[in-house]
């Protein structure tokens, strides 16, 4: 040690500079590796469960709800859409602390299904429906997401119907319910629904829209009966709709259902609309 202090100051300064360079180099190298990791795995490893946060809120529930809400918005930008992120936990905390805070429920319905966890969205939505009975948006958003992401028309219809029962819901909720009913295969109910909309709505656009839907359903019905007719004639169900044209049972597919993709169940002959 004593020898080190005896050496000239120039050497000491050089040594210090070299050490600093090594520090700098090793830190940037570490950051470089760390950056790659961050893209794949969430860096945040701990978030207290909602019940714990609630028990430690000590009269500051609203305030903490807001704080966590702001945090969750920031978190979304950084890593909220990654597979194992804490997005749900954040929103769970916010809605536990302040169940009547509407926006997080909507936010959850918009974000969570996208990263693959629509069940988590449903968990929060159920809480929201109970806490904010007047909100049609909360069940509505979830209904739409069920249709878009999981094509689960049963759940979509369930939540759309809840939305329809709320005051202040927009007119097109009924139309959506009718169209989901159609997509779920229940053409009769769908036609009835559209008929009811046609008769009751005051919105001209929706009226025309319902009329068009009814026509579509009638055309689908026509195709369905043609499929059964085909079976009676040839003993099997047609493979595709085009077979009906080739066998001259119908001239062409009506325009309004041309874009629908029909699958014919070879055992029952029922039309399934994609």
């Amino acid at each position: 040690m004593r020898i080190f202090f005896r050496l000239s100051s120039v050497f000491q300064i050089t040594a210090l500079a070299v050490l600093f360079l090594v520090v700098f180099w090793s830190q940037t190298g570490y950051n470089h590796f760390f950056k790659d990791r961050r893209l794949h795995y969430p860096a945040q490893v701990f978030l207290a469960p909602a019940t714990l946060v609630e028990s430690s809120s000590f009269g500051f529930r609203n305030f903490l709800a807001d704080v966590f809400w702001i945090q969750s918005v920031q978190y979304l930008i950084i890593e909220g859409l990654l597979k194992n992120s804490f997005m749900f936990q954040y929103l769970d905390i916010v809605t536990t602390l302040d169940p009547r805070f509407e926006y997080p429920y909507l936010f959850a319905n918009l974000i969570l299904p996208r990263k693959g966890s629509i069940d988590e969205a449903r968990f929060l939505t159920d809480r929201g429906i109970e806490a904010i009975p007047s909100s049609w948006q909360i069940p509505f958003y979830l209904g739409v997401q069920y249709k878009v992401f999981s094509k689960d028309y049963e759940q979509a219809l369930k939540y759309m119907n809840i939305a329809a029962s709320k005051p202040g819901k927009p007119d097109y909720v009924d139309s959506l319910i009718a169209s989901y009913t159609l997509r779920s295969g229940d053409q009769t109910s769908a036609r009835e629904l559209f008929d009811a909309i046609y008769k009751t709505t005051t919105n001209e656009f929706i009226k025309q829209s319902a009329k068009a839907w009814i026509q579509e359903i009638d055309h689908i019905g026509l195709i369905q009966s043609l499929v059964f007719g085909y079976k009676r004639l040839y003993g099997v169900y047609p493979q595709t709709i085009d077979d009906l044209i080739t066998r001259k049972l119908i001239g062409k597919i009506p325009d309004d259902i041309k874009s629908f993709r029909f699958i014919i169940n070879q055992e029952t002959g029922m039309l399934i609309i994609e």
């Binding site: 809120s57 000590f58 009269g59 529930r61 609203n62 709800a65 918005v73 009547r100 926006y103 936010f107």
Partner: protein
């Protein structure tokens, strides 16, 4: 008697208003209100809610901090500086001193609350342009103030027999316990053992239940509790406060100086 209580109250008020800590706490509260403007802008359009929440919380925190920092020292400093001996050698009763101290600190907190509330309403008015909803906010702040006066009495009680640090610790603990009543209820419900259940139930009633003074959640959604609950809350405050006063009087009477 009233004049003597008032004399102590005004003296306490004067003494605590001039305490520098008040300035620090007020700046802190205003900082929270100010930051709510910034945070509101990154909250996806929840800014009104953020401003209201932060404002109410800032005012409440201001009250609590003043009680903890100023209140704990109130009695202790007096005993330490022997001004307590001075006062008690005059024709005044210990209960009058306690009442006076409580009144004085309550006045201080009332003034600070009023000032910060005005700033808060000002910020809110600038943001939303109407005075809608402010009466509800005032009610929430008022209930918080009543809670604060209870905590003042608690703080005075503790400062009568422990050092300021311990007194602050006890006061804060009682505050936290007071806001955890729902947790205690949960424990009681889940208990099978009758004895433990009984003990916890007794504790539940002895410790102050402070959540009833918290209507900050409700006023944000423009709903307030029914009149009966509010009336019961006030009755609770009066009764519990009087009980605390009697306990404090008992402690002070027995203490040797």
């Amino acid at each position: 008697m009233f004049n003597r209580v008032l004399a102590i109250a005004l003296n306490t008020f004067r003494e605590s208003i001039r305490d520098r800590i008040l300035f620090v706490v007020a700046v802190f509260a205003l900082f929270i209100i100010g930051s709510s403007l910034f945070l509101g802008s990154i909250s996806l359009d929840q800014d009104i809610k953020i401003i209201k929440d932060f404002g109410l919380t800032a005012i409440f925190l201001l009250q609590i901090f003043i009680i903890i920092f100023v209140g704990a020292n109130l009695i202790y400093k007096e005993v330490e500086r022997k001004t307590f001996f001075l006062i008690l050698s005059k024709p005044i009763k210990k209960s009058e001193v306690i009442m006076g101290k409580w009144l004085g600190l309550s006045l201080t907190i009332f003034l600070m609350t009023a000032l910060t509330s005005l700033m808060f309403f000002g910020v809110l008015f600038i943001k939303i342009g109407t005075l809608n909803g402010i009466p509800y906010l005032i009610l929430a702040i008022l209930l918080g103030f009543i809670e604060a006066t209870l905590i003042i009495m608690i703080s005075i009680l503790f400062s009568g027999f422990t050092s300021p640090i311990l007194s602050s610790v006890y006061t804060v603990s009682l505050f936290l316990i007071g806001h955890s009543s729902s947790v205690v209820l949960g424990i009681i419900d889940r208990q099978d053992n009758v004895i433990i259940k009984y003990i916890f139930s007794v504790l539940y009633y002895i410790f102050p239940n402070l959540e009833k003074f918290n209507i900050r959640n409700d006023v944000l959604y423009n709903s307030i509790p029914v009149f009966q609950t509010l009336a019961l809350t006030v009755v609770y405050a009066l009764a519990y406060g009087a009980a605390l006063f009697l306990i404090a009087k008992f402690i002070f009477d027995r203490r040797e100086y």
